[in-house]
């Protein structure tokens, strides 16, 4: 793992030449100009939809888009709450994402630890299987999965949404890659010599070492579960939706009333925006670590 998140500033005693002509030269106007362009590209669609969600439909007819919000956000939001079971959907999405995150992190850490640090017959074969399934689009098994849920009588309940997301091959792979390097074998041996059994060794040696990776995996699993759309759309009905499927209901109900639809889009984005503000740094380091390892 070698990600210098904060690079050392050039020391003042560095040779002048390097500071002005080498690669540590502070970039100029052009760079910051481009960065600002990227920033505008990322933020403007969100800002525009926020502005439009605080206005009324007639404002969409303006040839130049307004830049400042109007005052109708709560009026529009009220309509959103009346036309879809918003709070219920929010609760469902939260429950689904939390349960899935807990389960994925637990099972991935257990399995990843076993693959990384324990010797057992068939280990390599099973690991190859895990890696092979990384490239398999399991989403395409939705038809039998749907039949399975119907047989169990689970359709319409959020349990049906949770079940297929309980484990991921990516999680196992990610934890294994991380744990291979961070747990020294001597530490495990020492724990064993001291008489700790396997599960104690896992809790006292592996879990503390795995904590940073667990946090990253939790973050990404939560986001994936939160954004899932196709499967909940199939197994849930309109009375008990997740936030994402509720949005599509809102769109069908108000396809001519743009400001209301956008108010719904903004409302549904708020939870993840909060997460982004709180854990944005971890999200970035997670993406960058997963890449180097992948």
């Amino acid at each position: 793992m070698s990600i210098a998140v904060t690079q050392k500033k050039t020391a003042p005693d560095a040779p002048r030449r390097r500071r002005f002509f080498g690669i540590d030269r502070r970039p100029g106007f052009l760079t910051y100009g481009l960065l600002t362009v990227f920033l505008v590209c990322s933020a403007y669609p969100l800002w525009w939809s926020f502005v439009m969600s605080t206005r009324q439909n007639s404002d969409f007819g303006l040839s130049w888009p307004p830049l400042l919000p109007g005052g109708r956000f709560w009026i529009n939001a009220q309509v959103v709450f009346e036309s879809i079971p918003f709070w219920k959907a929010l609760g469902n999405s939260l429950i689904i994402s939390c349960v899935v995150t807990l389960s994925v992190v637990t099972f991935s850490t257990l399995a990843g630890y076993a693959f990384a640090k324990l010797r057992f017959r068939g280990r390599n074969g099973l690991m190859v299987f895990v890696i092979a399934t990384l490239a398999v689009p399991t989403q395409l098994g939705i038809i039998p999965l749907f039949m399975l849920m119907r047989t169990w009588g689970w359709t319409g309940s959020i349990g049906a949404v949770i079940i297929p997301l309980l484990v991921t091959a990516f999680g196992v792979f990610f934890m294994r890659q991380y744990l291979v390097d961070v747990i020294p074998d001597e530490l495990l041996e020492a724990a064993r010599v001291d008489g700790a059994n396997m599960i104690r060794t896992f809790f006292h040696v592996a879990v503390p070492a795995a904590r940073p990776a667990m946090a990253i995996l939790a973050l990404f699993t939560f986001m994936t579960a939160w954004t899932d759309f196709l499967w909940p759309l199939l197994v849930l009905d309109s009375t008990n939706p997740t936030l994402q499927t509720a949005l599509s209901q809102l769109q069908s109900a108000h396809y001519v009333d743009y400001s209301i639809v956008l108010a719904g889009a903004i409302l549904s984005t708020v939870p993840l925006l909060v997460l982004f503000v709180v854990a944005g740094k971890q999200l970035i380091s997670g993406i960058m670590q997963g890449a180097v390892k992948g």
């Binding site: 998140v5 690079q7 080498g22 690669i23 540590d24 502070r26 970039p27 760079t31 481009l34 960065l35 990227f38 920033l39 990322s42 933020a43 669609p45 969100l46 525009w48 939809s49 099972f107 991935s108 257990l110 630890y113 076993a114 693959f115 324990l118 057992f120 399934t133 490239a135 398999v136 689009p137 399991t138 989403q139 395409l140 098994g141 939705i142 038809i143 039998p144 999965l145 039949m147 297929p164 309980l166 484990v167 196992v172 059994n197 396997m198 896992f202 954004t227 759309f229 196709l230 949005l247 599509s248 984005t269 982004f276 944005g280 740094k281 970035i284 960058m288 890449a291 180097v292 992948g294």
Partner: protein, 346 residues
Amino acid sequence: MTATLTPGKTTPSHSSSPRTPDRAERRRHWLSRLDVKASPYAYVAPFFIVFGLVGLFPLIYTFVVSLYDWDLLKGQGDFVGIDNFVSVLQDEFFWNSLFNTFSIFVLSSIPQLIAATFIAAILDQNIRSKTFWRMSILLPYVVTPAAVALIFSNMFSEDYGLINNMLQNFGLDAIGWKTDTLPSHIAIATMVNWRWTGYNALILLAAMQSVPRDVHESAALDGAGMLRRFFSITLPSIRPTMVFVIITATIGGLQIFVEPRMFDAATAGGSQRQFQTTVLYLWEMAFFRQNFGEASAIAWLLFLIIVGIGLINFLLSRSIATAETKVSTTRRQRRLAAYRNKEVSR
């Protein structure tokens, strides 16, 4: 979970015959052996059991369903062999959906990869407040695809959409984003690009940062300019990561569903199916036409296509990599030979 017994004091079952410490010792030893042998399997079992049940089994069973006449409500019908596959392959809507999927995929992956590489190269400099800029490009990633689809389908709306308004402000004609084939593909690809470019840029940035700085240093000292350094050092060294990004983009891109589904709420991919993707067609086949057999055949065909393209990507990248090493080795040898000749002639 695992019930590993902590070998405590063994309670003698017959108090009349006192156990030898030797036996207790052996028993404890045996238990700990069992613990060591069985625990790993217990740790990996939950993943394999659940994954087998909800991941692998449905995928394989999809094939079984595709061999039958199978209706959403009536259930299993007659065994029809490969008839479902034949009728899917003769179905113009299926080919139309494949064309749309690939068209959207190409429009959303190639520009995205180029933009992400460019953004990563910009971020790879010694800029101030790094985290802020990184967060700013990652912002779209936290907007869920459903919300992205809503926002952009309003922007691309034909009558009062932001994009068409702007076009008319500059004296251009409005474009039929939702009725014409290519514009609708561009609009949907834009949603994908907007959400994923920053994410992929960060992945590529990580790869760029793992290039040792002194390589750049020495190249700069040898007089290589920024562009030269980018093409000769940065690009070759991020190739493996590029392949990784391309493969994940393929797996995701060919299964695109949310964006075309919500781009037009009233239809399943446009009034003329002009942006109906394959997964969207699968969904229509299964839950509207209620033909599970043909829908499963579609799922399997798409599955084969995705895995096939993934393999081709992988093999191509490998062969390119080996060819590269060959070229560079021969070059190196030639240079060494020339150098030696020079040394000798001196």
